[in-house]
Protein backbone atom coordinates (compact mmCIF):
# COMPACT_ATOMS: atom_id res chain seq x y z
CA UNK A 1 0.00 0.00 0.00
CA UNK A 2 2.78 2.38 0.98
CA UNK A 3 4.57 1.65 -2.29
CA UNK A 4 1.41 2.26 -4.27
CA UNK A 5 1.00 5.66 -2.63
CA UNK A 6 4.62 6.54 -3.33
CA UNK A 7 4.21 5.45 -6.93
CA UNK A 8 1.06 7.54 -7.35
CA UNK A 9 2.71 10.55 -5.75
CA UNK A 10 5.69 10.13 -8.05
CA UNK A 11 3.49 9.90 -11.13
CA UNK A 12 1.57 12.95 -9.91
CA UNK A 13 4.87 14.78 -9.64
CA UNK A 14 5.64 13.83 -13.27
CA UNK A 15 2.35 15.33 -14.44
CA UNK A 16 2.83 18.54 -12.47
CA UNK A 17 6.41 18.93 -13.66
CA UNK A 18 5.41 18.25 -17.26
CA UNK A 19 2.59 20.81 -17.02
CA UNK A 20 5.01 23.35 -15.60
CA UNK A 21 7.40 22.65 -18.46
CA UNK A 22 4.60 23.21 -20.97
CA UNK A 23 3.78 26.56 -19.38
CA UNK A 24 7.42 27.50 -19.55
CA UNK A 25 7.71 26.27 -23.15
CA UNK A 26 4.66 28.31 -24.19
CA UNK A 27 5.87 31.45 -22.50
CA UNK A 28 9.37 31.27 -23.99
CA UNK A 29 8.67 29.98 -27.46
CA UNK A 30 5.10 30.75 -28.43
CA UNK A 31 3.73 33.96 -26.94
CA UNK A 32 6.42 36.08 -28.58
CA UNK A 33 5.06 35.07 -32.00
CA UNK A 34 1.81 36.90 -31.23
CA UNK A 35 3.49 40.29 -31.09
CA UNK A 36 1.17 42.95 -32.46
CA UNK A 37 -1.91 40.87 -31.68
CA UNK A 38 -4.09 40.77 -28.57
CA UNK A 39 -3.82 37.26 -27.25
CA UNK A 40 -6.94 35.30 -26.47
CA UNK A 41 -7.35 34.59 -22.76
CA UNK A 42 -7.48 30.82 -23.13
CA UNK A 43 -4.42 28.73 -22.35
CA UNK A 44 -4.54 25.71 -24.69
CA UNK A 45 -1.51 23.52 -24.25
CA UNK A 46 -1.08 19.75 -24.03
CA UNK A 47 1.62 17.14 -23.93
CA UNK A 48 1.29 15.07 -27.10
CA UNK A 49 3.10 12.09 -28.63
CA UNK A 50 3.61 11.05 -32.27
CA UNK A 51 0.29 10.14 -33.87
CA UNK A 52 -1.76 12.33 -31.52
CA UNK A 53 -4.20 14.93 -32.75
CA UNK A 54 -5.67 18.05 -31.18
CA UNK A 55 -8.78 19.99 -32.08
CA UNK A 56 -9.87 23.50 -31.27
CA UNK A 57 -13.32 24.90 -32.08
CA UNK A 58 -13.59 28.66 -31.76
CA UNK A 59 -15.74 31.50 -33.06
CA UNK A 60 -13.87 34.14 -35.01
CA UNK A 61 -15.58 37.52 -35.16
CA UNK A 62 -16.36 39.56 -38.26
CA UNK A 63 -14.05 42.46 -38.98
CA UNK A 64 -11.16 41.16 -36.87
CA UNK A 65 -7.70 40.19 -38.02
CA UNK A 66 -6.42 37.00 -36.45
CA UNK A 67 -3.18 35.12 -36.04
CA UNK A 68 -3.53 31.41 -35.33
CA UNK A 69 -0.34 29.91 -33.98
CA UNK A 70 0.38 26.21 -33.53
CA UNK A 71 3.54 26.00 -31.51
CA UNK A 72 5.15 22.61 -30.87
CA UNK A 73 8.34 21.23 -29.48
CA UNK A 74 10.77 20.38 -32.33
CA UNK A 75 11.13 16.81 -31.04
CA UNK A 76 7.62 16.14 -32.35
CA UNK A 77 8.76 16.82 -35.92
CA UNK A 78 6.68 18.60 -38.52
CA UNK A 79 3.41 19.21 -36.69
CA UNK A 80 0.79 20.29 -39.23
CA UNK A 81 -2.65 21.84 -38.91
CA UNK A 82 -5.75 22.51 -40.94
CA UNK A 83 -8.67 24.91 -40.55
CA UNK A 84 -12.21 23.81 -41.40
CA UNK A 85 -15.47 25.71 -41.43
CA UNK A 86 -18.58 24.52 -39.61
CA UNK A 87 -19.63 22.47 -42.65
CA UNK A 88 -16.31 20.63 -42.74
CA UNK A 89 -14.89 22.50 -45.73
CA UNK A 90 -11.12 22.81 -45.46
CA UNK A 91 -10.11 26.47 -45.59
CA UNK A 92 -6.41 26.17 -44.83
CA UNK A 93 -3.71 23.50 -44.78
CA UNK A 94 -0.38 24.38 -43.15
CA UNK A 95 1.44 21.90 -45.41
CA UNK A 96 0.77 24.30 -48.29
CA UNK A 97 1.66 27.40 -46.31
CA UNK A 98 4.27 29.73 -47.76
CA UNK A 99 6.45 30.88 -46.12
CA UNK A 100 6.92 27.91 -43.77
CA UNK A 101 5.95 29.50 -40.47
CA UNK A 102 4.03 28.13 -37.54
CA UNK A 103 1.18 30.62 -37.84
CA UNK A 104 -1.40 31.82 -40.28
CA UNK A 105 -2.85 35.33 -40.47
CA UNK A 106 -6.38 35.90 -41.65
CA UNK A 107 -9.18 38.42 -41.64
CA UNK A 108 -12.80 37.44 -41.01
CA UNK A 109 -15.39 39.06 -43.28
CA UNK A 110 -18.14 37.25 -41.39
CA UNK A 111 -18.45 35.73 -37.94
CA UNK A 112 -17.81 32.00 -38.17
CA UNK A 113 -17.08 29.05 -35.95
CA UNK A 114 -13.96 27.36 -37.27
CA UNK A 115 -12.30 24.13 -36.28
CA UNK A 116 -8.53 23.78 -36.11
CA UNK A 117 -7.14 20.24 -36.39
CA UNK A 118 -3.55 19.65 -35.35
CA UNK A 119 -1.64 16.52 -36.39
CA UNK A 120 1.54 15.22 -34.76
CA UNK A 121 3.37 12.99 -37.28
CA UNK A 122 4.05 9.32 -36.54
CA UNK A 123 7.62 8.30 -35.81
CA UNK A 124 9.65 5.14 -36.42
CA UNK A 125 12.05 5.98 -33.63
CA UNK A 126 12.49 3.23 -31.03
CA UNK A 127 12.37 5.78 -28.25
CA UNK A 128 9.22 7.85 -28.47
CA UNK A 129 9.21 11.37 -27.09
CA UNK A 130 6.37 13.51 -25.87
CA UNK A 131 6.35 17.26 -26.29
CA UNK A 132 4.26 20.32 -25.73
CA UNK A 133 1.83 21.55 -28.34
CA UNK A 134 0.19 24.92 -27.82
CA UNK A 135 -2.54 26.52 -29.88
CA UNK A 136 -2.77 30.31 -29.52
CA UNK A 137 -5.08 32.84 -31.09
CA UNK A 138 -4.37 36.55 -31.28
CA UNK A 139 -6.61 39.25 -32.69
CA UNK A 140 -6.51 42.89 -33.71
CA UNK A 141 -9.08 45.27 -35.11
Amino acid sequence: MKHTIILLLTLGLFATTADAQCRSFTKKNCLTELEGYIQNDNYNSAILIPGDEAQLMLTFLAGQDYRLLVCSHPVLGDVTYEIFDAQGKRLFDSRKNEPDVSYVDFNMETTQQLQVQVHVPETRSAIMHEGCVTVLVGSKS
Binding site: T10, F14, Q21, K28, M57, E98, D100, N107
Partner: protein, 307 residues
Protein backbone atom coordinates in the same frame (compact mmCIF):
# COMPACT_ATOMS: atom_id res chain seq x y z
CA UNK B 1 2.87 -10.46 -7.35
CA UNK B 2 1.26 -7.09 -8.07
CA UNK B 3 3.13 -5.48 -5.21
CA UNK B 4 6.34 -6.96 -6.53
CA UNK B 5 5.65 -5.43 -9.93
CA UNK B 6 5.02 -2.06 -8.33
CA UNK B 7 8.20 -2.29 -6.31
CA UNK B 8 10.10 -3.16 -9.49
CA UNK B 9 8.52 -0.17 -11.21
CA UNK B 10 9.62 2.25 -8.49
CA UNK B 11 13.25 2.68 -9.60
CA UNK B 12 12.05 3.35 -13.15
CA UNK B 13 9.46 5.84 -11.93
CA UNK B 14 11.96 7.60 -9.68
CA UNK B 15 14.54 7.56 -12.44
CA UNK B 16 12.14 9.25 -14.83
CA UNK B 17 11.08 11.69 -12.13
CA UNK B 18 14.67 12.60 -11.41
CA UNK B 19 15.24 12.98 -15.14
CA UNK B 20 12.42 15.50 -15.40
CA UNK B 21 13.25 17.32 -12.19
CA UNK B 22 16.94 17.74 -12.94
CA UNK B 23 15.94 18.93 -16.39
CA UNK B 24 14.21 21.90 -14.75
CA UNK B 25 17.56 23.28 -13.74
CA UNK B 26 18.89 23.45 -17.26
CA UNK B 27 18.79 26.51 -19.40
CA UNK B 28 15.93 26.16 -21.79
CA UNK B 29 16.61 28.80 -24.35
CA UNK B 30 17.98 26.43 -26.97
CA UNK B 31 14.58 26.18 -28.53
CA UNK B 32 13.40 29.70 -28.04
CA UNK B 33 13.66 30.29 -31.77
CA UNK B 34 10.98 29.57 -34.31
CA UNK B 35 11.95 26.12 -35.48
CA UNK B 36 8.73 24.26 -36.03
CA UNK B 37 9.84 22.56 -39.19
CA UNK B 38 11.16 19.10 -39.91
CA UNK B 39 14.13 19.23 -37.60
CA UNK B 40 14.07 16.24 -35.25
CA UNK B 41 16.18 15.67 -32.22
CA UNK B 42 17.88 12.42 -31.31
CA UNK B 43 16.27 10.15 -28.76
CA UNK B 44 19.01 10.75 -26.23
CA UNK B 45 18.71 14.52 -26.19
CA UNK B 46 16.62 15.86 -23.33
CA UNK B 47 15.78 19.37 -22.29
CA UNK B 48 13.64 20.96 -19.65
CA UNK B 49 11.52 22.82 -22.10
CA UNK B 50 8.48 20.67 -22.62
CA UNK B 51 9.93 17.41 -23.93
CA UNK B 52 10.58 13.99 -22.39
CA UNK B 53 10.64 10.30 -23.21
CA UNK B 54 7.02 9.21 -23.12
CA UNK B 55 5.56 6.30 -21.23
CA UNK B 56 2.25 6.58 -23.11
CA UNK B 57 1.60 3.93 -25.75
CA UNK B 58 -1.75 4.81 -27.30
CA UNK B 59 -2.50 7.99 -29.21
CA UNK B 60 -5.32 10.37 -28.40
CA UNK B 61 -7.20 13.36 -29.71
CA UNK B 62 -6.95 16.31 -27.37
CA UNK B 63 -9.95 18.62 -27.51
CA UNK B 64 -9.25 22.26 -26.69
CA UNK B 65 -12.13 24.53 -25.83
CA UNK B 66 -11.91 28.29 -26.13
CA UNK B 67 -14.03 31.38 -26.45
CA UNK B 68 -13.40 34.91 -27.70
CA UNK B 69 -12.07 37.19 -24.97
CA UNK B 70 -13.91 40.15 -23.40
CA UNK B 71 -11.39 42.37 -25.17
CA UNK B 72 -12.65 41.05 -28.52
CA UNK B 73 -16.25 41.70 -27.46
CA UNK B 74 -15.40 45.24 -26.32
CA UNK B 75 -13.58 45.87 -29.57
CA UNK B 76 -16.61 44.63 -31.49
CA UNK B 77 -18.91 46.99 -29.54
CA UNK B 78 -16.73 49.98 -30.32
CA UNK B 79 -16.31 49.06 -33.98
CA UNK B 80 -20.05 48.87 -34.42
CA UNK B 81 -20.34 52.55 -33.52
CA UNK B 82 -21.75 52.23 -30.00
CA UNK B 83 -20.85 54.71 -27.25
CA UNK B 84 -19.26 54.15 -23.83
CA UNK B 85 -21.76 53.93 -20.98
CA UNK B 86 -20.04 54.34 -17.62
CA UNK B 87 -23.33 53.82 -15.80
CA UNK B 88 -23.50 50.23 -17.06
CA UNK B 89 -20.33 49.09 -15.28
CA UNK B 90 -20.35 47.17 -12.01
CA UNK B 91 -18.85 49.58 -9.46
CA UNK B 92 -15.11 49.08 -9.08
CA UNK B 93 -15.50 49.65 -5.34
CA UNK B 94 -17.77 46.62 -4.92
CA UNK B 95 -14.94 44.07 -4.90
CA UNK B 96 -14.85 43.61 -1.14
CA UNK B 97 -18.48 42.47 -1.18
CA UNK B 98 -17.34 39.26 -2.82
CA UNK B 99 -16.03 37.01 -0.10
CA UNK B 100 -16.26 33.46 -1.45
CA UNK B 101 -13.87 32.15 -4.09
CA UNK B 102 -16.79 31.47 -6.45
CA UNK B 103 -18.09 35.04 -6.17
CA UNK B 104 -14.57 36.39 -6.47
CA UNK B 105 -14.01 34.41 -9.68
CA UNK B 106 -17.38 35.46 -11.11
CA UNK B 107 -16.67 39.11 -10.44
CA UNK B 108 -13.14 38.79 -11.70
CA UNK B 109 -14.81 37.91 -15.00
CA UNK B 110 -17.26 40.81 -14.64
CA UNK B 111 -14.49 43.29 -13.84
CA UNK B 112 -12.35 41.85 -16.63
CA UNK B 113 -15.08 42.67 -19.15
CA UNK B 114 -15.60 46.14 -17.60
CA UNK B 115 -11.86 46.75 -17.75
CA UNK B 116 -11.66 45.61 -21.38
CA UNK B 117 -14.60 47.88 -22.28
CA UNK B 118 -13.08 50.91 -20.54
CA UNK B 119 -9.66 50.26 -22.06
CA UNK B 120 -10.95 49.85 -25.62
CA UNK B 121 -12.90 53.13 -25.22
CA UNK B 122 -9.74 54.81 -23.84
CA UNK B 123 -11.34 55.56 -20.49
CA UNK B 124 -7.93 55.07 -18.95
CA UNK B 125 -8.67 56.44 -15.50
CA UNK B 126 -11.59 54.01 -15.23
CA UNK B 127 -9.32 51.22 -16.44
CA UNK B 128 -6.90 51.86 -13.58
CA UNK B 129 -9.73 51.64 -11.03
CA UNK B 130 -10.78 48.25 -12.38
CA UNK B 131 -7.21 46.98 -12.53
CA UNK B 132 -6.85 47.82 -8.87
CA UNK B 133 -10.05 45.93 -8.00
CA UNK B 134 -8.93 42.98 -10.12
CA UNK B 135 -5.63 42.93 -8.26
CA UNK B 136 -7.54 42.69 -4.97
CA UNK B 137 -9.76 39.86 -6.22
CA UNK B 138 -6.84 37.94 -7.70
CA UNK B 139 -5.02 38.29 -4.37
CA UNK B 140 -8.03 36.84 -2.62
CA UNK B 141 -7.99 33.91 -5.06
CA UNK B 142 -4.28 33.28 -4.44
CA UNK B 143 -3.11 34.30 -7.91
CA UNK B 144 -1.92 37.79 -7.08
CA UNK B 145 1.28 37.37 -9.08
CA UNK B 146 -0.66 37.86 -12.33
CA UNK B 147 -0.80 41.53 -11.36
CA UNK B 148 2.52 42.03 -9.64
CA UNK B 149 3.80 45.37 -8.39
CA UNK B 150 5.97 45.53 -11.51
CA UNK B 151 2.93 45.17 -13.73
CA UNK B 152 1.04 47.81 -11.75
CA UNK B 153 4.04 50.16 -12.11
CA UNK B 154 4.05 49.54 -15.85
CA UNK B 155 0.36 50.42 -15.91
CA UNK B 156 1.03 53.68 -14.08
CA UNK B 157 3.86 54.58 -16.43
CA UNK B 158 1.69 53.90 -19.49
CA UNK B 159 -1.65 55.11 -18.18
CA UNK B 160 -2.26 57.18 -21.31
CA UNK B 161 -1.14 54.57 -23.79
CA UNK B 162 -4.18 52.56 -24.86
CA UNK B 163 -2.21 49.93 -26.78
CA UNK B 164 0.11 49.18 -23.86
CA UNK B 165 -2.87 48.95 -21.50
CA UNK B 166 -4.63 46.55 -23.88
CA UNK B 167 -1.51 44.37 -23.93
CA UNK B 168 -1.26 44.38 -20.15
CA UNK B 169 -4.94 43.52 -19.68
CA UNK B 170 -4.77 40.70 -22.25
CA UNK B 171 -1.59 39.27 -20.75
CA UNK B 172 -3.08 39.47 -17.26
CA UNK B 173 -6.19 37.49 -18.18
CA UNK B 174 -4.18 34.94 -20.15
CA UNK B 175 -1.90 34.47 -17.12
CA UNK B 176 -4.91 34.23 -14.84
CA UNK B 177 -6.50 31.52 -17.00
CA UNK B 178 -3.22 29.62 -17.17
CA UNK B 179 -2.59 29.88 -13.41
CA UNK B 180 -6.09 28.77 -12.44
CA UNK B 181 -5.89 25.76 -14.78
CA UNK B 182 -2.41 24.87 -13.53
CA UNK B 183 -3.59 25.12 -9.92
CA UNK B 184 -6.39 22.66 -10.67
CA UNK B 185 -9.03 25.40 -10.36
CA UNK B 186 -10.54 25.02 -13.81
CA UNK B 187 -14.00 25.57 -12.34
CA UNK B 188 -12.92 29.06 -11.27
CA UNK B 189 -11.42 29.66 -14.73
CA UNK B 190 -14.83 28.66 -16.11
CA UNK B 191 -16.62 31.13 -13.84
CA UNK B 192 -14.31 33.91 -15.03
CA UNK B 193 -14.94 33.09 -18.71
CA UNK B 194 -18.72 32.68 -18.40
CA UNK B 195 -19.31 35.79 -16.30
CA UNK B 196 -16.93 37.76 -18.52
CA UNK B 197 -19.02 36.88 -21.54
CA UNK B 198 -22.25 37.77 -19.72
CA UNK B 199 -20.86 41.18 -18.73
CA UNK B 200 -19.59 41.84 -22.27
CA UNK B 201 -23.07 41.10 -23.56
CA UNK B 202 -24.63 43.24 -20.83
CA UNK B 203 -22.51 46.19 -21.95
CA UNK B 204 -23.35 45.53 -25.60
CA UNK B 205 -27.09 45.49 -24.91
CA UNK B 206 -27.39 48.76 -22.93
CA UNK B 207 -29.21 51.67 -24.53
CA UNK B 208 -30.44 49.51 -27.39
CA UNK B 209 -32.80 52.25 -28.51
CA UNK B 210 -29.77 54.22 -29.67
CA UNK B 211 -27.76 51.21 -30.82
CA UNK B 212 -26.57 51.10 -34.42
CA UNK B 213 -27.92 48.28 -36.61
CA UNK B 214 -24.46 46.77 -36.89
CA UNK B 215 -24.35 46.25 -33.13
CA UNK B 216 -27.64 44.35 -33.26
CA UNK B 217 -26.17 42.17 -35.97
CA UNK B 218 -23.10 41.48 -33.80
CA UNK B 219 -25.34 40.67 -30.83
CA UNK B 220 -27.16 38.09 -32.98
CA UNK B 221 -23.86 36.53 -34.03
CA UNK B 222 -22.94 36.01 -30.40
CA UNK B 223 -25.14 32.92 -30.62
CA UNK B 224 -21.99 31.13 -31.78
CA UNK B 225 -19.88 32.57 -28.99
CA UNK B 226 -22.44 31.50 -26.41
CA UNK B 227 -22.03 27.96 -27.77
CA UNK B 228 -18.24 28.33 -27.34
CA UNK B 229 -18.64 29.53 -23.75
CA UNK B 230 -21.09 26.77 -22.82
CA UNK B 231 -18.83 24.15 -24.44
CA UNK B 232 -15.73 25.47 -22.70
CA UNK B 233 -17.29 25.77 -19.26
CA UNK B 234 -19.19 22.50 -19.66
CA UNK B 235 -15.87 20.70 -20.16
CA UNK B 236 -14.76 21.57 -16.62
CA UNK B 237 -15.72 19.80 -13.40
CA UNK B 238 -19.19 21.02 -12.55
CA UNK B 239 -18.97 22.55 -9.09
CA UNK B 240 -22.30 23.85 -7.77
CA UNK B 241 -21.34 27.45 -8.56
CA UNK B 242 -20.33 26.68 -12.14
CA UNK B 243 -23.33 24.42 -12.72
CA UNK B 244 -25.64 27.14 -11.35
CA UNK B 245 -24.16 29.83 -13.54
CA UNK B 246 -24.40 27.67 -16.66
CA UNK B 247 -27.96 26.68 -15.74
CA UNK B 248 -28.91 30.35 -15.40
CA UNK B 249 -27.41 31.02 -18.83
CA UNK B 250 -29.84 28.58 -20.40
CA UNK B 251 -32.35 31.45 -20.37
CA UNK B 252 -29.99 33.34 -22.68
CA UNK B 253 -29.75 30.28 -24.93
CA UNK B 254 -33.54 30.20 -25.06
CA UNK B 255 -33.68 33.87 -26.04
CA UNK B 256 -31.14 33.15 -28.79
CA UNK B 257 -33.46 30.59 -30.31
CA UNK B 258 -35.16 33.58 -31.96
CA UNK B 259 -32.04 34.27 -34.01
CA UNK B 260 -32.34 32.83 -37.51
CA UNK B 261 -29.41 31.45 -39.44
CA UNK B 262 -28.81 30.92 -43.13
CA UNK B 263 -25.70 29.23 -44.40
CA UNK B 264 -23.66 29.76 -47.53
CA UNK B 265 -20.35 28.27 -48.57
CA UNK B 266 -17.26 29.70 -46.92
CA UNK B 267 -14.75 31.46 -49.13
CA UNK B 268 -11.03 32.13 -48.80
CA UNK B 269 -8.94 34.66 -50.64
CA UNK B 270 -5.23 35.08 -50.29
CA UNK B 271 -4.02 38.68 -50.08
CA UNK B 272 -0.71 39.97 -51.45
CA UNK B 273 0.57 40.21 -47.89
CA UNK B 274 0.20 36.44 -47.58
CA UNK B 275 -2.71 36.62 -45.16
CA UNK B 276 -6.13 35.19 -45.95
CA UNK B 277 -9.61 36.63 -45.95
CA UNK B 278 -12.33 34.23 -44.87
CA UNK B 279 -15.89 35.05 -45.87
CA UNK B 280 -19.23 33.38 -46.44
CA UNK B 281 -20.50 30.91 -43.88
CA UNK B 282 -23.50 31.54 -41.69
CA UNK B 283 -25.53 34.75 -41.65
CA UNK B 284 -27.47 35.63 -38.51
CA UNK B 285 -30.58 37.76 -38.21
CA UNK B 286 -32.68 38.84 -35.26
CA UNK B 287 -35.69 41.11 -35.03
CA UNK B 288 -35.96 43.77 -32.32
CA UNK B 289 -38.10 41.56 -30.10
CA UNK B 290 -35.42 38.86 -30.12
CA UNK B 291 -32.66 41.35 -29.35
CA UNK B 292 -34.72 42.73 -26.45
CA UNK B 293 -35.34 39.20 -25.14
CA UNK B 294 -31.60 38.49 -25.27
CA UNK B 295 -30.88 41.77 -23.46
CA UNK B 296 -33.43 40.95 -20.74
CA UNK B 297 -32.06 37.43 -20.20
CA UNK B 298 -28.50 38.74 -20.03
CA UNK B 299 -29.51 41.47 -17.58
CA UNK B 300 -31.12 38.92 -15.27
CA UNK B 301 -28.09 36.60 -15.23
CA UNK B 302 -25.74 39.51 -14.74
CA UNK B 303 -27.79 40.87 -11.82
CA UNK B 304 -27.34 37.54 -10.01
CA UNK B 305 -23.60 37.54 -10.79
CA UNK B 306 -22.87 40.91 -9.18
CA UNK B 307 -24.99 40.39 -6.03
Amino acid sequence: MRINQRIQALPIAFGLGLFLITGCGETADDHSGHDHGDHTQSGEEMDSDGMAVTTRQSTLTKIFHAAPSPMETASLIKRSGAHFHADALNGADQYDNYTTSDKQAINLGIYGADLSYATIFEENSTSLDYLSSIKSLSQALGVSDVLSDDVMSEVEENRNDRDVLIDIVSNTFYDLNERLKFNGQEDLAGLVVASGWVEGMYLATRHLDAAPEELKQRIAEQKLVLADVMGLCGSYDQTPALANLLASMLSIETAYEGVTTSTSESTTNREESGSFTIGGGATFAADDATILAIAAAVESVRAACIQ
